[in-house]
Amino acid sequence: MTLARHLGAALLVAVVLLVLTLRVGPFRDYQIAEVAAYVTAVAGLTYLIGLSGQISIGHGAFMAVGAYAAALLLLHLHWPLELVFAASAVAGAAAGGILGVAAARLRGPYLAGATLMLAVALPSIADKYAGVFGGDQGLSVTITTPAWLGVTFPPTRWLAWVTCAAALITLVLLANLGRGRTGRDWRALRDNEIAAELSGLNVARLRILAFVVSSACAGLGGALLAVVTNIVSPGAFTLALSISVLTAAILGGLGSLAGAVWGSLVLVFVPTYVTDVATSHGLSSGASSNVPIAAYGVVLIAVMLLFPSGIQGGLRRLLGPVAPAASGPLNALRRRGPASEKQEEGTT
């Protein structure tokens, strides 16, 4: 039943996107593709933090794994695109699994630190093995528009189609996972780990699974981003990327897939807008390229201080009649729970 509803919603969105991409120019198509790539990665992260209650500050590292996997497969083995995307998700999942196993015992700041270190350390591998990964220059990633679309078909529109399809499939899968048993177990884990363990949940396995699912999304998102930007280089997967993905997840509303979409839209459209405004107010181009960064910071702080449930939480309060009943009692329980174990407030 839920599956049918999710599929229906996805189909509707797909039709809207199809019409949209046919009507807008190449640059907007490119931006749509960019949003789709971010949505894929942010959706995974928002589940990891919002549902399973674990934090990753270094999700850019998993995106890098997926992107490099995709680039290498396209470059050397010329796999078809859908297989490449599947493989990059698997590569991301494998990396996440390894970190998840190591991190299953870690809590709060220790986990954050381990993921932070991963994001800083991983790009240096690309420099060390420059023969395979292309060093600072990176690897170029090109996909060709299929022949049946004709030679005049704009390549950016094809990019938008491919990335949106991948993003929608990811969202449907995640929505089902979140609604089903696994999602419920994750929420229980997030709300009170000890209670969850006493109820017979395998806490370590659930925590690792959350990392695997989330980093698979990040790997796919990274591969999509690589295809969109045509290049994979260490400079594209810095700590700044990890932080902007995290910003998008938080700004949109943790644990909410719709929130992941809002956050990604902000990520793609707001920086260019803010930079333009800053430049038109007389700042030099070097200075105004830093305005969006400072704005990210202000947004992160402001969201946490003023509306911790993000855009989606705000929309729900505005539009929806009541908050979903499922989170009510658990929230009440959590308030009385031990302070040191809590990761975040329920926002589903």
Binding site: P109, L116, K128, N290, A295, G297, L305
Partner: protein
């Protein structure tokens, strides 16, 4: 043997920087149970302030003093303005707010000072010292770095041990509610903790920047390693922070020296994971990881 000596002493010198960052993190963690991800950004910002003063007056020590003072003020202001409202919220909120401070400070530095690399003067000569014909791998400036961090740690230890302010700081770290019942003004103590952390972080920034250049992200990698040092030390113990910093400095110096400098971050990650696998709450931690 010659190489070994150079790597060891050089590692200890760098380790002192990690120790200072780790110390500032521990100061805040003990008081507020918040990990301050903006520590590196704060240090970067105060170092810019120092550079401006040095360029203006031509006197290194005036810049040095201003950096420490502005670190003190910055720490206190941030605690009052943005940390206080989230102190009793879930830990994730604090993580995100401090990351927000970091991103904001880096963006602000980029807007005000531009993104280009600037050189920052060292306090003393950076020419390598020798004993007879044996190069030691460290300079006068490294010695000053070590002395400054050790002096700061010692002063902190004395403050904690022998003053009533230190007693209040320890009481708050031990149990904030009990301390409050006994008449400690918790709010002021927490602000003081952040101010002191800001000061130590500013010290680390001024000391390390001569060897890294100054730009908005210049403290990122230093912070990550300082954080690693703090985690290795166990986040609870100031002594652990210093020891963790020195261990990390020496290990990374060997790794970089013998195996190639490209892999230093990987070895940092490896060291962190290894310690966390063996002791999930660090080497010097005494309290239980999970509170039931």
């Amino acid at each position: 043997m010659q190489e070994f000596l150079e790597f060891t002493l050089g590692g200890l010198a760098v380790g002192m920087i990690y120790a200072a960052i780790a110390l500032s993190l521990v100061l805040i963690w003990r008081g507020t149970r918040i990990l301050n991800y903006s520590q590196g950004g704060m240090a970067m910002f105060t170092t810019y302030v120092a550079l401006i003063v040095i360029n203006h007056t031509g006197n290194y020590w005036e810049g040095f003093a201003v950096a420490l003072a502005s670190g003190l003020v910055l720490g206190a202001v941030l605690e009052r303005a943005v940390i206080r409202p989230i102190e009793n919220k879930p830990p994730l909120n604090a993580v995100i707010v401090t990351i927000g401070i970091l991103v904001f400070l880096e963006g602000l530095a980029g807007i005000i000072y531009g993104g280009q690399f600037r050189s920052f003067p060292p306090a003393f000569s950076i020419v390598g010292l020798t004993i007879g014909s044996t190069a030691l791998g460290i300079s006068r400036d490294d010695l000053f770095t070590a002395a400054a961090v050790l002096a700061a740690s010692l002063l902190l230890a004395l403050l904690f041990r022998y003053t009533s302010v230190g007693l209040r700081l320890r009481a708050t770290a031990f149990n904030a509610n009990v301390a409050r019942l006994l008449g400690v003004r918790i709010g002021r103590v927490l602000t003081l903790g952040w101010a002191l952390a800001g000061l130590i972080g500013a010290l680390a920034g001024v000391l390390v920047t001569p060897s890294t250049f100054l730009y908005p992200n210049s403290m990122d990698s230093i912070f990550v390693l300082g954080f690693t040092a703090a985690v290795i030390g166990g986040l609870e113990s100031p002594l652990g922070a210093v020891v963790g910093g020195l261990i990390l400095g020496v290990v990374l110096s060997y790794a970089g020296g013998y195996l190639g400098s490209d892999l230093v971050p990987i070895f940092g990650l490896g060291a962190l994971m290894l310690v966390l696998m063996i002791r999930p709450s660090g080497l010097f931690s005494t309290t239980a990881v999970r509170r039931v």
